[in-house]
Every structure is written in structure tokens, then in C-alpha cells.
Assembly symmetry: C5
Homo-oligomer: 89 residues x 5
């Protein structure tokens, strides 16, 4: 079911294997096309995405605060939780 | 009674459903018309507002420190407390 | 005796009732006339002053680090301690 | 084996003895030639490298966030862990 | 012996009594002539020096990260430790 969530954004497989373009596609499909470009500018692939903390998303991407808060809370945090839970199995 | 406080600022319903314009109206009615515009610039709707921490209000909105401290302490913190308390019921 | 300290800086009453001008007068009398202006620029009245944390004084006022460290340690922190202790009585 | 990892990046000996040029060589060999230059700009030798925290790497080097996250997690943190573990023996 | 360390940098007495010029002399003698000027720019005397935290040295002086890390770790932290230990006696 968790894999389904990720697939529904049009990007396959575990975030750990995502390229920078996959990360951009994910956030574009997730409703943040404007902010998605910042992930390319900052060269954030799936491995880097899994290392991001709240403050990195809010201040390190130079994107507006409103969308940044949702990107962290609904996506980055969720992808990390899913990834590291799968890891524990 | 808590709902009454929110209504007295001219915005109806739970902050979670506020649009960016509702957030702007709320802070304008609350006595911060100049700072209210920053919430529009940063695209902060009710859902984002409920995710804001102290430092986000103080440094992420590019508003003066004096009003920022009051906006966080008397409004953002209070709206969040009210919202998450209601959630617990 | 605590009230006396505050009065000796030429500003009467509890900081909670200070206007922005009272805050400016307080820091001018306390030996920081140059930095006092920053409190006006940032619109900090007594209520906001009581909400300031170390980092707000050091980075939010755009004043030099040396005086900022003393302003926080010898004045902001002391005024807050006095105020919130009085509150407990 | 830990020494082997370090040697494989083309820099000999303990990081504590690295010059700024050794640090630059290390990160160039580690796949971050573009970011390596920032360590020279900020005059970071091995001793300073061992004192760096996550936030210093992410915001103090003025490099892109994606590579910065990997540089900290896979290199700075690992070199420090190895160094301070050896220290404990 | 601790006093001897301080004297060896050419500045006499406890840091708490140092003027801004004494602070500048101390860091010049300690091998950081370029960075010493930043302490004058930020008006840091001995009393302010004893109040500085890691982040203040790293980001509040606008000096390069490598030397800043050493200035904090080998000097500011050590002077504070010595001072506050003496205080406890």
C-alpha cells in the first residue's frame, strides 16, 4: 500500500534509487510543479531527499514557506518514514 | 467559546479549511494589516499555518520582529493549540 | 529594589506596559544609544521585549554582536526574569 | 580497514594531519570536485574538518544542498566517527 | 598555569577585564591576525567574549569557517572554561 502511494505520483521504486529527475517528477505530480524545480537546482536525488530535515526543506530550497511546510510534512517526512520502516523489516 | 474568538476575527470555521485569503483576513482583522500581506506572499493557507513553528514566523515571513513575536505568541500558537485540542476530543 | 533598577534607567512601571519609545529610552539610558534605534525599527514594545529569545536579540536586530550579547544577558534576560518572577507571586 | 577507506581517496594518514589541500584532494577523489573548492575557500584543514557539524556543511560552505547532504553523511560524519573511535583505543 | 597560557598570548589578566583591543591582541598573537579584526568590527570585549556560543563565532563574525572552528574550539571555549572554573573556587 505504501508502494502504491509512491507509484500514484508516477515514480517507481524506492526513493533511495530516484535520480534528481525522478525527485522533480515526484513533486510535480504531487502538485508542486513550481517548487519541484528547486530540487533540480539543489541537485537533490532520492538519497539526498532521504537525508533532508525540516529546516533544510524550509530554508535550503529557497521556496515559499507555505508550500515548503506541506512538502516537508506530507511528502519528505512520509517518504522517509516509509523508507526507514521498510528498512526495519 | 474558542470558535467565537476565531469568528470575532471575521473568518469562519476551523483554520484547517482556511484559504490563503482567509489567513490574510484573519491577521488583518487581528490588527496586523501590514504583516498580513506576508502570508499571501509566502502562500500560507490554514493547513500551512497550523504547521508553522516560532522560527518560521520570526524569520520566514520577512516581517518586523516586534509584530512577529506577537503574531506567533498570540495567534499562531493559540490557533494551533485550539485546533489540536479540538482534535483530541 | 527590582523596580528601582528599572526606574534608574528612566522608564517607569512594568515592561509589559512599555511603548516602543519606552523600550528605546530604556536601552539609551542603559548605555546602548546606537542599538536602541534597532528596537524602534523592529517595532518592539514591552510586550514583544518580554517574548524575545537570545537568538532574536543576536540576529533579529541587525546590531553588532558584542553589544547584542550584553543587551541580551544583562537586560532582556534580567527584565524577563524579574517580570515572570513578579508574575508568580 | 578504515585506513584503507581513507587511502582509497588518495590521501594518506589521519585526517587530523591533513592540510587544506589534502582535504580538497579527498573530496575531489570522493566524487565532489565542484564542492571540494569550497573547502579551500573556507580554509578547512583536517583539524577543522573534524570539528564540522551537519549545519556547518549544509550552510557554511555555500554549496548545493543535495551534494552537501551526502558530503556530511557519507564523508564528514564517517571520518569523524573513525577518528574519534581510533582515539578511544 | 592557566594564567600562563593567557599571558603567553601577550594579554594580561582575566578575560572579563579585556578591552576590545585586548581581545584583538589575543587573537592576533594566537595566530589569527586576519580574523582578529572581526572582533573589533563586532565590538567584542572580554565580557562579550565570555558570552559567545559556538554559532555566534561561526556565523556572527563573518569569518571563514575553517579558522572560525579553531577559534571557537581552541580559544573561546577554553577561555570560558578556565574563567568559569576559576569562578567556582
Amino acid at each position: 500500500m505504501r508502494t502504491k502511494i509512491i507509484k500514484s505520483e508516477g515514480v517507481n521504486g524506492s526513493p533511495v534509487n530516484w535520480t534528481v529527475s525522478d525527485v522533480v517528477s515526484y513533486f510535480t505530480a504531487a502538485g508542486f510543479p513550481e517548487q519541484a524545480a528547486a530540487f533540480r537546482t539543489q541537485e537533490i536525488d532520492g538519497k539526498s531527499l532521504l537525508l533532508m530535515q525540516r529546516n533544510d526543506v524550509l530554508t535550503g530550497l529557497s521556496i515559499r514557506l507555505g508550500p515548503a511546510l506541506k512538502i516537508y510534512e506530507r511528502h519528505v517526512k512520509v517518504l522517509q518514514k516509509t523508507h526507514f520502516e521498510d528498512d526495519d523489516c
